[in-house]
């Protein structure tokens, strides 16, 4: 009966995915940027020490009688000490002639006076960073170029980079986790007013069409505004039609009463059997119409009261006993006996007028359909929930129609000979539902209908 309409995607999912996706991209970006930056800085650190080492060796060089002498300081190598015990290699060249160190170490060709040049290579199976620099020495009639390369393995650097990488990865992961938490939080915060609106509308009674007045965020205002307008129109048209029915019923009942009294008077005066029959049918038809009008009024009254339940504590047994006493004369007219089984006092919180109306309609129905010389059983139980069952010995409900009988103006196929408007069960059902209970119809095994009104 309730249609949800087409569902396409989820706002919550879309929001969360967007936020988390954005967070993931940011985390990766942060990781890459910081790592690259850290690598540069760490590399600069190693380069500057390599450069200093090269410079200190170059500075110690001098020409003595045409021979190059390099009494480089102990610090040239000791400054290259690292926590990871990196290996070092070096080579000293004079005008491309190998002088000292490791001969096969790749020689870079640095330009004189431009400081050190740096590069990477593989030497003795290890990745090394190397720095080269050169210097021109001028002696007696001699001009020679001295170039020095110092290389160092990258273990310590890689260790540092790995540590930094790990820390940055951890940082990125933490950031991402935070984004996830924030995404969930932000999404539920954003969705919350929508959920609140939904639940406030869901919680409403079936006839509550008052406008939504609790504050909503600006983005939802147009929706709520439209909703309120729609409900206002609905409410107006509902009220109008209820009013119309009540008014119509009322207006019909008064002239009907007049018609009936005239018809009764006429019946006294008419002698011809044929005419008397016609008069009687007329009176019955008038009765039926008036009863229908009465029920329409009842229904309108119930529709109004259901929206504004006047709950009080009621003793159910007492209430039903009262009704039974009032209906006993009608039962006796039809030679039907009403048997009431009520235990001790059963207290319920209910609208007395509505309950009376509903139960009276149900007993009325039972009396109408009960054959002569039969018994209508009324049973009230307190557990597991307060329940009133009314059973007759009539023909029962037609099985295939049982589920629609409580609809408005719906009457059973076996009821043509019996006056009725088709509103009795509707009223009882509306009342039961307004009290949070239900009305159930069934047939007894031995025959006859059973209606149970439960709270």
């Amino acid at each position: 009966m309730i249609e949800v309409g087409q569902i396409s995607g989820s706002l919550r999912k879309r929001l969360i995915i967007t936020l988390i996706g954005g967070g993931a991209v940011l985390a990766v970006l942060i990781y890459l940027i910081v790592r690259t930056y850290a690598t540069q800085i760490a590399q600069q650190g190693q380069d500057s020490i390599l450069g200093a080492s090269v410079t200190s060796i170059l500075d110690a060089a001098n020409l003595r009688k045409g021979d190059i002498e390099i009494d480089f300081p102990y610090a040239s190598f000791s400054m290259l000490k690292t926590a990871s015990d990196d290996r070092i290699f070096y080579a000293i060249y004079q005008d491309d002639k190998f002088l000292s160190g490791y001969e096969r170490l790749a020689k870079m060709n640095p330009k004189t006076g431009t400081g050190s040049t740096f590069g990477n290579t593989i030497f003795k199976g290890a990745n090394v960073r190397l720095a080269s620099a050169s210097r021109t020495l001028v002696g007696e009639g001699l001009r020679t170029e001295l170039s020095i390369t110092v290389a160092q393995t990258r273990d310590s650097l890689n260790g540092t980079l790995n540590r930094i990488g790990q820390n940055v990865a951890l940082f990125g992961a933490g950031f991402f986790l935070l984004v996830i938490i924030l995404a969930f939080w932000a999404t539920s915060a954003a969705i919350a007013p929508l959920a609140r609106l939904t639940s406030s509308i869901t919680r409403r009674g079936p006839h509550d069409l008052s406008p939504v007045i609790s504050p909503v965020p600006r983005e939802m205002a147009p929706l709520v505004f439209s909703l309120n307008k729609l409900m206002g129109r609905l409410d107006q048209s509902l009220t109008r039609s209820e009013d119309f029915i009540a008014e119509a019923a009322h207006r019909v009942r008064t002239p009907l009463a007049t018609v009936r009294s005239y018809a009764e008077a006429m019946l006294q005066r008419v002698e011809k059997e044929e005419n008397r029959r016609a008069m009687r049918s007329m009176i019955r038809a008038v009765d039926e119409s008036s009863r229908a009008a009465g029920q329409l009024l009842d229904h309108a009254m119930i529709t109004f009261r259901v929206d504004n339940l006047d709950r009080r504590t009621v003793n159910l047994s007492e209430l039903v006993t009262d009704l039974v006493i009032r209906l006993t004369p009608i039962a006796e007219m039809r030679d039907v006996q009403i048997k009431l089984e009520a235990g001790e006092a059963i207290q319920v919180s209910a609208d007395v007028i509505l309950i009376q109306n509903a139960i009276r309609n149900l007993i009325d129905n039972a009396l109408k359909y009960a054959p002569q010389e039969s018994v209508v059983d009324i049973v009230i139980v307190a557990n597991p929930r307060p329940e009133i069952s009314i059973k007759d010995e009539g023909t029962g409900f037609p099985n295939e129609e049982m589920h629609i009988l409580a609809n408005r103006f719906e009457r059973g196929s076996n009821s043509e000979s019996i006056t009725g408007s088709g509103l009795g069960l509707t009223i009882a059902q509306d009342v039961a539902e307004a009290h949070g209970g239900r009305l159930s119809l069934s047939n007894q095994v031995k025959g006859g209908a059973c209606v149970t009104f439960s709270f």
């Binding site: 002498e69 390099i70 009494d71 102990y74 070092i88 002088l99 160190g101 003795k124 199976g125």
Partner: protein, 331 residues
């Protein structure tokens, strides 16, 4: 005169590159299947107890212990690294260069103090100072020198007594001698003054500390400079003739070190051997039962395992140093 001595020594000392060793001993219990070849510059008597205690735990092994001088050891090992499993030497700089040049096998699971190892491939296991060893008779009636300065003064005061009576390493031949000399020279100018005094007294030059101590005991020389104190003290038979003096101002201290050849045939056994030495030597109590001095855990060494050890191995540096040294000692 000096050259004659060198000639005599070179006649006596075996031709090492022809694989004639200063000493060679096979430790075996006869049932062994693997033979570890250990190349060392340490006298066999210092290592025999350690090797025996090791073999007691590893009955399936035997050890071929080969002794040669530190400089020769370096050359031999570089030429044929696959021939040897473990290399032990007191010349820290040469050992360091072997490790730096990739001849050593990294042993990642050896437990050893960080300052006493390099790249998990070179393990220092003893702390041994270079000492001035004197012949007690020669110094009778003279105040025993306590420092290099004292020694210079004592020698200068009696040049006639000490002429031809000084012994020190020939740094051109001995790797350890060169190492001690360069470290001395780095620490103080006193070294050069001392060397000049040695030169003026026509000092004898030795390739190895063993010979130097022999001559000292026999009285042929009165002072041996930069001898390993442990070697001198090891000669328990001669403690009444000689006296070991650790120079008070700055003792030059060396750490003996070991590495496993990258091309070893028995990495597991070699690793176990290194673990065995380091276990013993790093524990003062255990080391007391063995003749080698322990690794001194209390004071960090002045000369640490690091790339700076390669400074004086540079050809140009070495050439300059040797020139200076020769001009000081040969007069």
């Amino acid at each position: 005169m000096r050259y004659i001595f060198i000639l005599i020594f070179s006649l006596f000392s075996p031709p090492v590159l022809g694989q004639g060793w200063e000493d060679q001993r096979l430790f075996s219990n006869g049932t062994s299947s693997q033979t570890l070849r250990i190349l060392s510059n340490t006298d066999t008597r210092f290592f025999a107890p350690i090797i025996e205690s090791f073999l007691a735990t590893q009955p399936s092994l035997s050890i071929d212990y080969l002794v040669t001088g530190s400089a020769d050891l370096y050359d031999i090992f570089r030429t044929s690294p696959a021939e040897f499993d473990v290399v032990i030497s007191s010349a820290m700089d040469l050992q360091f260069k072997l490790a730096n040049d990739g001849y050593a096998l990294p042993l990642n699971d050896i437990v050893h103090p960080n300052w006493a190892q390099w790249r998990k491939s070179l393990f220092a296991f003893s702390t041994e100072p270079a000492a001035i060893v004197i012949n007690r008779n020669a110094f009778k009636g003279i105040l025993t020198p306590k420092s290099r300065q004292d020694l210079i003064e004592a020698l200068r005061a009696r040049p006639e007594t000490f002429k031809d009576k000084i012994g020190t390493y020939d740094v051109r031949q001995s790797g350890l001698g060169y190492f001690f000399a360069t470290q001395d020279a780095r620490s103080s100018e006193t070294y050069w003054r001392l060397t000049e005094v040695f030169g003026s007294l026509n000092a004898r030059l030795y390739c190895c500390s063993g010979d130097m101590i022999d001559d000292l005991i026999s009285g042929r020389i009165a002072v041996a400079y930069n001898v390993l104190g442990s070697y001198a003290l090891g000669r328990t038979d001669a403690q009444s003739e000689i006296k070991v003096i650790l120079p008070s101002n700055f003792p030059t201290t060396m750490m003996r070190s070991a590495l496993v050849s990258r091309e070893t045939r028995f990495p597991t056994a070699a690793r176990a051997f290194i673990q065995h030495i380091t276990d013993i030597q790093a524990d003062g109590e255990k080391a007391a039962a063995f003749p080698l001095p322990p690794l001194d855990q209390t004071a960090k060494p002045l000369i640490s395992l690091g790339p700076e050890l390669m400074t004086y191995l540079d050809i140009l540096k070495r050439r300059t140093f040797i020139q200076e040294w020769e001009s000081a000692i040969i007069q």
